[in-house]
């Protein structure tokens, strides 16, 4: 796979991340329910004490991270590639923690969070690290 394809893939995945995190952030501040699958635990997860860190919604932290990665991908200098991969890996590890919290602590699953934690974050980490390996 060419570097151009990896970069486009990373950009698309980042935009997906911005979409999910942006939606959850909007729902939080607009005091709106998130659309959830039948029997899903979106509200339970969103309203749990794990949904905020020092008063800042986790979704907002995710949105800020994705926005930063987007800027880094657009910049695309060597240091930007390194920073994007580092940030994506931090996101991956933190997503793993969030999956554990949902499954074993809160005992509820938010489909939006899981889509981010199990698809978007790992995909972005793989794509950015692959780009770093090739540079």
């Amino acid at each position: 796979m060419s570097d151009r394809a990896l970069r486009i893939g990373a950009l698309l995945v980042t935009l997906a991340g911005i979409g999910i995190a942006g939606y959850l952030t909007w729902a939080h501040f607009a005091d709106q329910s998130v659309v959830c699958v039948q029997g899903g635990g979106c509200e339970k997860v969103q309203e749990s004490s794990y949904a905020e860190i020092a008063g800042i919604p986790v979704a907002t932290l995710g949105l800020a991270s994705y926005a930063t990665i987007l800027v880094l991908l657009l910049w695309d200098a060597p240091v930007a590639r390194l920073s994007a991969a580092t940030l994506a890996l931090i996101g991956l590890f933190f997503s793993a923690y969030l999956v554990v919290v949902q499954l074993f602590v809160i005992d509820a699953v938010c489909v939006w969070c899981m889509a981010n934690d199990l698809v978007v974050a790992p995909a972005l980490a793989v794509l950015t690290v692959l780009r770093l390996l090739r540079s």
């Binding site: 607009a30 509200e43 339970k44 309203e47 004490s49 905020e52 860190i53 923690y97």
Partner: protein, 235 residues
Amino acid sequence: MATRPSSRQGASRRSIVAVIAGAAVVAVALVAGALLLRNDGGSSASPTPNVDFSGIPQEGAVLGDAGATVRLIEYADLQCPACREYTEKVEPSLVADYVRPGRVVAEFRGMTFIGPDSVTALRFVHAAGLQNRLWQLQEALYRNQGAENSGWVTDELVRELAADIPGLDVDKLFADKDSAAVTDLLAEDARNAQADQIQATPTLLIQIGDAEPYQIHIGFDPGALSEALDDALQG
């Protein structure tokens, strides 16, 4: 010359390992910070009530003049941190400015979607409602809210909180907690929540007379609630 690519690859591998290790360290620090700084409600607990319910009539889950035309219905889970925040930030002015003067009547409807401690807390709260002290106990529980399903709704805690509520018979509270009457009240709350299609807590509905209730979104802003209630009072 042959050694240069291999040396570059070695450096590249080392830098990848350094990136992964650095990211892991930062992530561990983030998780530790997240666990330490999460919004578990423990820090804002206060030993004294935030809301003054004294002298306001109560009947079951209803607070205020039952004849008031405008009714504010609150769906809440006693374990939900947002419900605690609503109670701390909005309920004092709601009670002082609208319920106490008899302009608005408030109704509490409990939900238990967070887990077992929600059920235990709601049983105690409805049992207090049988003695017309529901609102005092819900406020006290929010003030002492613990982490979800950590077993924080202990008999000891409830006994301590209930003892501070004037007019509440603590022994009767515990006797009523698992009664059929309280079970029926929980079931009624669940039926109402389903009928009103409640998806989140806290959810606020305004009902004017016998009209269909409508949902309002105020966040934790007492001013926004005042605006919504003033609109309703003007018909």
